[in-house]
Symmetry: C2
Subunit: 156 residues, 2 copies
Amino acid sequence: MSDTDRELRVSKIRNGTVIDHLAAGQALNVLALLGIDGSGGESVSVGMNVPSDKLAKKDIVKVEDRELSQSEVDVLAVISPEATINIVREYEVIEKERIDRPESVAGVLACPNRNCITNDEEPVETHFVVLDDGLQCEYCGEIVREDEVATHLDVS
Amino acid sequence: MSDTDRELRVSKIRNGTVIDHLAAGQALNVLALLGIDGSGGESVSVGMNVPSDKLAKKDIVKVEDRELSQSEVDVLAVISPEATINIVREYEVIEKERIDRPESVAGVLACPNRNCITNDEEPVETHFVVLDDGLQCEYCGEIVREDEVATHLDVS
């Protein structure tokens, strides 16, 4: 067996999205971001704390037949700025998406302030301004610290 | 690329445990059972809804440098009776563990009845008798349905 085979990794997918160079430990948060828990039948491969040249250790998520929305990419850029997104068709990478730290994030996240208008029954989408180390709700000013983002994913 | 390479799978591990033939959709529940969320630095590979000969689709979890306790195996046998456990040393399977549906499960699960003595501050380990389609607390008689087991994992 070659050294490459011996590396802990997940194999190629036919069509879908490869989210690579995730900060180690973020894979399950990314699955939550994508609303994937396995019950929907999506074919998904996940590597957690995989040895990496670029990072000491990384996570990787490969999802068949799925692409990310802009809002999902925006949140990904906040929780794991080093991540790369590759779109795969017939086993080949046809597109590499840059992920840039966004200026704001619409939807995807819920505001932790229960009294925020976005938590009323009103059909108001959340909007957060991206700060250096977190996100601020545009409606009520509540701050979500960067390391808390994953716990405020709006998976409903 | 061979057909084998094209299959969605996770590659070999050097030392650790391979939990294979998991019921599709159970991989994240198994990670919760093992107390793994990625933050502990464990190298883990996960395949969800992978094509399988034995089952239509299956999940698979490979954990480096980790074996399962008997209580963990017992709960696994309840949430995914078809699962197989392989212990790996230097890339070779050195032991295949049978998993039998246990008669009872000690620890690992929390009783959903808040008034159960096991939820007091007392140092009382939970004990559940395994029924045909669920588990029954030996202390208070509360039933945990089989499809609810994963939500009552005691990860504290």
